[in-house]
Amino acid sequence: MDLVVNILLGIIVAATPLVFAAIGELVVEKSGVLNLGVEGMMIVGAIAGFSVTLESGNYLIGIVSAILAGALMALLFGFLTQTLLANQVATGLALTMFGLGLAALWGQSYSGKTADKFPKLDIPLLSDLPVVGKLVFGQDYLVYLSVALVLAVSWFFRKTRGGLIIRAIGENHEAAHAIGYPVVFYRYLALLFGGGCAGLGGAYLSVVQTPFWAEDMTAGRGWIALALVVFAAWRPGRALLGAYLFGGITILQLHSQGFGVKIEAQYLSMLPYLATIMVLVMISSDRMKVKLNAPACLAQSFRAAT
C-alpha cells in the first residue's frame, strides 16, 4: 500500500511542472502564437526561483520571482515576434538556447546548494487519514494551484468574453482586427501568462521537487509540455490528463529501475521522450483532427495595415 501511495505521490510531483508549463503554452497557442521557448522560460524560472528563495529565505518571493522571470522571457519573445515580426519558430528555438545559457551563467554559484523543504498542506485530522490524507490533503500548495489554474483556464475559455476574444484572435486574426480587437495586445497578454506559467513550472522543479539547482535540470520538460498541448488538442482538461500520464511514465520508469528490471537504465530514461514522439506521430497522422482543433492562425505573424 505504501508503495502505491509513494508512486502516486511521485506522479503528482512529476506531473505538476508539466501542468504549469502546458497550460501556459495552451493559452499562448490559443491566441495564435507558437512559443517554442518553453524550455528556456522554464529553466530561467527554475534558477530565478531557486536563487531568490535561497537569498531571501522566503518561498513566496522566490516563486513570484520565477513567475516574473518567465514572463520577462516571454516579453522578450513577444517583442521580437509581435512587434518586430520575427519568425516565431526560429525565435522560440533561440529563446530556449538563450534561456539555458543564461540560467547556467546565473546558477554557477548555486550549483550543489540545497534549499529547505517546501511547506505542504497540513490539515489536522484530514491530512492524517490513511492514503487519501497524504494524496489529497497533504500536497504542497502549488499542486492545488496547478489544478485550480487548469479549471480557471477552462472556465475562462468557455464562459468569458476575454476567452472568446483570445480564441477568435487565434482563429482568424485578420477578422478580429477588422472587427476592432487589438490582436497584438491580446497576444502579449497571453504570452506573459504563458511565460509566467513556464517560470512557475521551472521553479517547481528547483524549489519544491528536488530542491536544489543543477544545470539543465528541466531536462526537456519544456518540450514535453509543448507536445502535451498538441496531445490535449488545445483543451485544458486534457492537458492536465496528459501531464499526469507523462508524469506516470516518468515515475514508472524510476520504479522499474528500482525493482531491478533487466533493461539498461538509459532505455528506461528514454521512455517519456519516446512516448512524446509516439503521441505526436499518432496525433498528426490524423491531419483532419489536428486541423479541427488547432488555432487556424497558429505561428502566423500579424501586422495591421493602418
Binding site: 472568446l164 476574444i165 477568435a168 482568424n172 477578422a175 477588422a178 472587427i179 486541423k291 479541427l292 487556424a296
Partner: protein, 507 residues
C-alpha cells in the same frame, strides 16, 4: 433633399507607392441607398475602411449628423451607428454563430438574451439563422447573413456593404436586395460598394464613381445605362469580345468520375466529377467560391494526385498520377488562381518565373544548368506579345500591377503552346482592359486547336468566352450545357445546389 447623414469632405489616403484616395467628397442622406462604384483598386475599400475606423485618413473631414466624425477604431464607428458587412467576411469558422455575433458588437449588447435577439432580428428581415451552428458549416450566403444580423443588432443608421453579391448566387442576391430595401424604407442608409452595374441600377438611389482614388462622376444610376456607367468607371470605351463558332475536334481533356476527399476542416469533397473538353472548345466551370474549385484545380494540375491515373486523361493518355511537371511535358499548362504566390513567385524576376513554369516545354535548362539567355528571350517575347507593362524582365514579379502580372502569367502559359490549358479566375481583380486582352488570348488559343478549361466565379466572363458551361456546387459538377441554351437564372439555380437553393428562395 432629406437630411444629410454622412458628409465626406476631401478625404485622402496614401500607401507606399499608391494614392488610394485623393480628395474624395460626397454625402449620403438618411434612408438613401448610395452606390460607391469603381474598378478593383479604385480606392473603394480604403474609403469605407476609413469610414468604419479601421484606417485613418491622411487628410479630410467627415461629419455624421452634422457633428465631426473621426473614428479611431471600429468600436467608435459602431457606437455612432455605423455597421459594416465585409467583402471577405470577418468571421471565425471554429466559433458558433452566436459567438461570432457576440464578438462583433458592443459588450453591453452581448447579454444573455443575445440568442433570442439573434433569432428575432433574423426572422424580421427574412434571414433565417441558427445561433448554435458553427460558422464553418454554413454556406457562403448564410455566412453573409451572420454578418448582416450582427450589423443590424446594433440598430445602425448607416450600413456599409462591401461587394456583398460577389459571393452569392443570383437567387441569394434577390433575397439580399429585399432585405436592403426593407432597411432603407425603415430609414437606414446603405453605402453599397460594387462594380456590378446592373445591380447598382436596380438598387441604388445615387452613385459616386471612383477611378484611381478620385471621384470622377456622380449620377443617378436609374437614369444611366450599364454601358454609360461602365465607361464612367473605366474611363474608356470597350468592345466586347467576338466569338467565332468553330467546329470542335477530338476530345483532348477528359475527366472521368473524379472523386477526392477534402484536405482541410470545413473543406469540400469532390464527388464523381466527369467532363470532356474538345479541341477548339472553351468550357467554363462556374460556381460560388468554396464549392470545391480549389480542390478540383489542384487535382487537374497535379498538385494533388488523384487515386486512379485514368481519372484525368490527356489526349488519350492517363495523367492522373503525374506531378505538374509531367503533365506539362504531356501538353497541359495551367494558370492558378492566385497570381502572387501561386502562379508566380513574388520576389523572383520575370525571367526566373518564366523558367519555373516553362523549363520543360521551352528547353530552358540543359543537363541541370539554366539556359538564362533563352529564358530572358522567352520572357521578353511574353512581355512583347501580351503587352505587359514592366520596367524590364529582370524586375521582381511583385513590382507589376495585378493586370500586367496576370497578362504575363497567362502569356507564359499560352506561349508554351499547350494542347490543354486550365485557368482559374483568369481575370480576377484585373482592370477591364487587361481582362479583355486575356479573354481574346484564351479564345485565340482555343481556335488554334487547344482545349481550354476556365474555372471562374464571374458568370459574365464565362458567358462571354465559353462554348459550354458546367456548374460546381458542393463538390459536384453539373452537366456542361451549351451557352446558347443557358440563362443566368438556370446557372444560379445550379450554383446554389438544388435543395439548399429552394430554402434560400422561399425564406
Amino acid at each position: 433633399m432629406p437630411d444629410t447623414l454622412l458628409d465626406i469632405r476631401g478625404v485622402s489616403k496614401a500607401f507606399p507607392g499608391v494614392q488610394a484616395n485623393d480628395d474624395v467628397s460626397f454625402r449620403i442622406s438618411a434612408g438613401e441607398v448610395h452606390a460607391l462604384l469603381g474598378e478593383n483598386g479604385a480606392g473603394k475599400s480604403t474609403l469605407v475602411k476609413i469610414v468604419y475606423g479601421v484606417m485613418r485618413p491622411d487628410a479630410g473631414l467627415m461629419t455624421l449628423h452634422g457633428k465631426p466624425f473621426a473614428p479611431q477604431k471600429p468600436s467608435e464607428a459602431r457606437a455612432r451607428g455605423i455597421g459594416m458587412v465585409f467583402q471577405h467576411f470577418s468571421l471565425f469558422e471554429a466559433l458558433t454563430v452566436a459567438e461570432n455575433i457576440a464578438l462583433g458588437i458592443a459588450p453591453d449588447l452581448a447579454r444573455d438574451d443575445l440568442r433570442s435577439r439573434i433569432v428575432d432580428v433574423s426572422r424580421r428581415y427574412g434571414l433565417e439563422l441558427d445561433p448554435d451552428r458553427l460558422v464553418g458549416e454554413l454556406s457562403v450566403g448564410q455566412r453573409q447573413r451572420v454578418e448582416i444580423v450582427r450589423c443590424l443588432l446594433q440598430n445602425p443608421q448607416l450600413v456599409i456593404m462591401d461587394e456583398p453579391t460577389s459571393v452569392l448566387t443570383p437567387q441569394e442576391v434577390e433575397v439580399l436586395f429585399e432585405t436592403l430595401c426593407q432597411l432603407a424604407t425603415e430609414g437606414c442608409s446603405i453605402l453599397y460598394i460594387s462594380h456590378k452595374l446592373e445591380e447598382i441600377r436596380v438598387l441604388c438611389d445615387h452613385a459616386t464613381i471612383l477611378r484611381g482614388g478620385k471621384v470622377v462622376a456622380t449620377c443617378t444610376p436609374k437614369e444611366e445605362t450599364a454601358k454609360s456607367l461602365a465607361e464612367m468607371m473605366i474611363g474608356e470605351t470597350l468592345t466586347p469580345p467576338v466569338k467565332g463558332s468553330a467546329a470542335f475536334g477530338e476530345i483532348r481533356l477528359s475527366i472521368n468520375r473524379l472523386s477526392m476527399v477534402a484536405d482541410k476542416q470545413f473543406g469540400v469533397d469532390l464527388a464523381d466529377i466527369s467532363l470532356d473538353v474538345r479541341a477548339g472548345e472553351i468550357v467554363g466551370i462556374g460556381g460560388v467560391a468554396g464549392n470545391g474549385q480549389t480542390r478540383l484545380m489542384a487535382a487537374l494540375i497535379g498538385e494533388t494526385l488523384v487515386d486512379a491515373a485514368d481519372m484525368i486523361v490527356l489526349d488519350g493518355r492517363p495523367v492522373g498520377g503525374l506531378p505538374p511537371e509531367g503533365r506539362r511535358r504531356a501538353g497541359m499548362c495551367f494558370v492558378p488562381e492566385e497570381r502572387l504566390g501561386h502562379a508566380a513567385v513574388p520576389e523572383m524576376s520575370l525571367v526566373e518565373n518564366a523558367i519555373l513554369s516553362a523549363r520543360v516545354r521551352k528547353n530552358l535548362s540543359h543537363k541541370g544548368f539554366l539556359n538564362l539567355r533563352t529564358a530572358a528571350r522567352y520572357a521578353s517575347d511574353i512581355v512583347d506579345r501580351f503587352s505587359v507593362k514592366t520596367a524590364g524582365v529582370n524586375h521582381a514579379a511583385r513590382s507589376l500591377s495585378g493586370g500586367n502580372l496576370q497578362k504575363y502569367v497567362v502569356g507564359r502559359e499560352i506561349m508554351q503552346a499547350p494542347t490543354v490549358l486550365i485557368a482559374a479566375q483568369p481575370t480576377w481583380g484585373v482592370d477591364a482592359g487587361a481582362a479583355a486582352f486575356i479573354h481574346d488570348a484564351l479564345m485565340q488559343l482555343a481556335s488554334d486547336g487547344a482545349a481550354v478549361l476556365v474555372i471562374s466565379q464571374d458568370l459574365d466572363e464565362l458567358f462571354a468566352i465559353s462554348d459550354r458551361i458546367a456548374v460546381i456546387a458542393n463538390g459536384r459538377l453539373s452537366e456542361a450545357a451549351l451557352v446558347a441554351d443557358l440563362t443566368i437564372e438556370e446557372i444560379g439555380l445550379r450554383m446554389g445546389g438544388q435543395a439548399h437553393d429552394r430554402k434560400a428562395f422561399h425564406a
